[in-house]
């Protein structure tokens, strides 16, 4: 079979798997968040932590819960990383220095999982599983909760209540993430991902060299790294590492896992707003962006333009033999279209065009299909913008799902859209301006600028993948990227919840002949184009100096 046929079949199989999971998982998630009954184990949980599961929160209280929970998460994780040498199974590694611990703690709480450290030479098993992996679950559940709160804002009328954050957080974790993670962790182990508590030990290789055999609770962390669109690898090489991703089957499973919740959430959305066509419209916009980018990345890598790939005869630098170019491009496109940021190949060594497209995926704001929860609320915010633009064209007050989009609502949307580019461009501009910060670059010229842009695009969008040539473990990058991650994650959540509160207060507007239908192909087109135009206008100058210049070199 030719590489092209095999590559296309692989994509087809992925789409089939996602299609099979779409309805059952989407419907299930809708039931989880609309059910009025608590499981026995959940009731016990609420009793122990003393929260009232029946309290219906205002948007501001819901927000305080999100922020309070995330703040203590950062603090506890920071403390754990600072003193990890005192924890069991620390493997003899020291505690992290303050800037690195700050960067890592914000990174995992903000669902980014940018890593300025290499796991195998920095972290013991307790810090990984009781610190990082816990946030892999919880940061995803927080994103999910905020998305659900926004949906409630659209579906509820004349109320100031959006639900209960603690209940949403607990149900998302206990009923959705944990069971799926448990099952697929075992599948990954069956495929070869390690899962043990053995400290690394040295063996003499067949050729007579010394090599350490690594261990660790890898599979249990690997699965939630993908399912929760986190992306922080147990090892430095992430999903390129054979102990995280041993073969082509686990590779396809990992791509499936990182896409499945963001994709199925479109169904959950349709079910919860009681108009499944709205969910399909959102899904279609996600699919258009994901598909177009996939074609571009794959074509760029297969054609391997550029000095080195041409000299080599293929774009194999930074790619594994077991994943060939197609499976690498599929992973790269999916990990940057979601907010995952795991990598099975090194994006820094991609062709100029291929690396540029995966960077653009992040700059679109992580909506194709985006992170767990964050993809959906990002997409809904952009749909509101699209409705507003259409309203401007015909001179009508725009509405979305029976809610008027007035001055207050669109102001929140505008701030949402500006928050991420602000964190991205300011951080990158400062980094590009000083000799000391430029000293971290591995490549020079446009590729060097791409390293900086990629880092801040990754941080501000909570992706976490890297053009890893950048030596980011410095005080400036650790601090600036940490702040970019916090701004990118939490200012947007503030705005989304404020928006949800404003929408819930409204009375429903009846649908009339003048209402713009938001489930037709015309709107899907408008929606997708809005995403591209917003990102294009914001980032074209920066992209032109970085990846576009590399691609044209």
């Amino acid at each position: 079979m030719s590489a092209t046929a095999a590559g296309l079949l692989q994509i087809a199989l992925l789409l089939v798997l996602l299609a099979v999971a779409f309805r059952p998982l989407g419907d299930y998630m809708a039931r989880v968040f609309t059910s009025t009954r608590h499981l026995a184990v959940e009731r016990a949980f609420y009793r122990i932590v003393r929260v009232d599961p029946e309290a219906d929160q205002r948007w501001s209280t819901y927000l305080l819960s999100v922020l309070g929970f995330s703040a203590v998460s950062v603090l506890l994780l920071y403390a754990m990383l600072r003193v990890q040498d005192l924890l069991p199974m620390s493997l003899g590694f020291d505690g992290m220095p303050p800037d690195l611990a700050f960067n890592t703690a914000t990174s995992f709480v903000a669902n980014t999982n940018w890593q300025s450290y290499a796991g195998e030479s920095t972290l013991g098993y307790t810090a990984q599983m009781a610190g990082l992996a816990v946030q892999n679950f919880l940061s995803a559940a927080v994103g999910l909760a905020v998305a659900i709160a926004l949906i409630r804002g659209l579906t509820r009328h004349r109320t100031d209540r959006l639900g209960n954050f603690w209940v949403d957080l607990t149900r998302g974790t206990v009923r959705i993430l944990l069971p799926i993670a448990f099952v697929f962790a075992l599948v990954l182990v069956a495929g070869g991902v390690v899962q043990n508590f053995t400290a690394p030990y040295e063996v003499t290789t067949l050729g007579g060299a010394a090599q350490s055999v690594l261990g660790g609770p890898v599979a249990s962390q690997e699965v939630i790294k993908l399912l929760g669109t986190n992306g922080g690898g147990f090892f430095n090489a992430n999903s390129a590492h054979p102990f995280e991703n041993p073969n082509a089957l686990t590779n396809l499973l990992e791509i499936f896992l990182l896409l499945v919740i963001p994709v199925a959430l479109a169904r959950t959305y349709g079910v919860m707003v009681k108009d499944k066509r709205q969910g399909y419209a959102v899904l279609a916009a996600m699919a258009v962006l994901w598909g177009a980018a996939l074609v571009a990345v794959t074509a760029a890598e297969v054609h391997h333009a550029g000095t080195v790939p041409q000299a080599v005869g293929a774009a194999t630098e930074g790619k594994e033999v077991r994943f060939d170019v197609w499976a690498s491009a599929l992973f790269a496109n999916s990990t940057t279209g979601t907010s995952t940021g795991a990598v099975n190949s090194m994006h820094a060594s991609y062709t100029g065009a291929g690396g540029g497209v995966v960077m653009l995926n992040m700059m679109l704001g992580e909506v194709s299909p985006g992170g767990v929860g964050s993809g959906l609320y990002g997409m809904v915010v952009l749909a509101i913008l699209a409705v507003f633009l259409a309203g401007l064209m015909v001179g009508r007050t725009p509405e979305y799902l029976g809610k008027k989009i007035g001055r207050y609502e669109i102001s929140l949307v505008a701030l949402y859209i500006l928050a991420m580019p602000f964190a991205l461009l300011i951080g990158a501009a400062v980094a590009a301006s000083f000799d000391t910060t430029r000293a971290s670059l591995l490549n020079d010229g446009p590729q060097g600028l791409s390293e900086i842009l990629y880092a801040f695009a990754s941080g501000a969008n909570n992706n976490g993948s890297a053009f890893a040539g950048l030596s980011a473990n410095t005080e400036y990058y650790n601090t600036a990227l940490g702040l970019a991650m916090l701004i990118g994650r939490f200012t947007t959540m503030v705005l989304v919840l404020a928006l949800a509160g404003a929408l819930a207060r409204q009375r429903p507007t009846p649908v009339t002949a003048g209402t713009l239908p938001t489930h037709r192909p015309l709107f899907v087109g408008l929606h997708s184009v809005t995403v591209i135009i917003v990102a294009g206008l914001t980032f074209f100058p920066a992209l032109a100096l970085g990846p576009i210049a590399v691609a044209l070199a």
Partner: protein, 196 residues
């Protein structure tokens, strides 16, 4: 929005976080480990392979092989090469002059060592993998090493080629991933051939 509200929510958040840390950070990984060790012990421990009763590594992790008598793996930039404590790729870009020079050097070396035309050296032989621990090479890279290995071991090249063919794995299920040869397993088979 008020400070006392935030403190109250944070305090509730801390209680929730601590209980979740016990469930997700301790009970869950222990449960996964327990079931994995029972059901898939070999994989969970790292798919170890032994030679003459000694563990020589993992079939999933590439190893350095120097010397004429071995099939050689891909170039690796993990530490000094296949250092599992420093996994990673070169991260050099497509226009990097440094990478271009390295690639040309490797091509010349591989061509000379195996006595083949530089144009016949396949891409994976001159590029480093993303992990630096790639256990595989392409069948093309294995093929050009056959004559050299056979000569060094005093074996019939046809016999070595047969081993390579036996160890060539097609795409998984016929269409997933790449065609490949596991270098450690191939070299182990060579050793067994020599000793029988």
């Amino acid at each position: 929005m008020n400070l006392s509200g935030l403190i109250r929510q944070s305090w509730a958040g801390l209680r929730v976080l601590l209980l979740f840390t016990v469930i997700l950070g301790v009970a869950y990984p222990l449960a996964v480990t327990g079931v994995s060790q029972l059901a898939f012990g070999d994989q969970a421990d790292g798919s170890l392979v032994s030679h003459d009763g000694e563990v020589v590594g993992s079939s999933l992790i590439g190893q350095p092989f120097d010397g004429e008598q071995w099939f050689h793996p891909r170039p690796s930039v993990a530490g000094d090469g296949y250092d599992t404590l420093a996994s990673g790729g070169s991260n050099l870009g497509p226009e990097s002059t440094q990478l271009l020079a390295t690639v040309e050097e490797r091509r010349a070396a591989v061509a000379e060592e195996n006595g083949v035309d530089p144009a016949d050296v396949p891409p994976d032989a001159v590029t480093a993998s993303g992990s630096g621990l790639d256990p595989h090479i392409s069948p093309a890279y294995a093929d050009i090493q056959v004559n050299r290995v056979a000569r060094a071991r005093g074996l019939d090249p046809a016999e070595v080629q047969r081993l390579v063919d036996e160890h060539t794995q097609g795409r998984t299920l016929g269409f997933l991933g790449g065609e490949r040869v596991n270098v450690l397993e191939l070299n182990l088979a060579l050793e067994d051939l020599g000793s029988s």
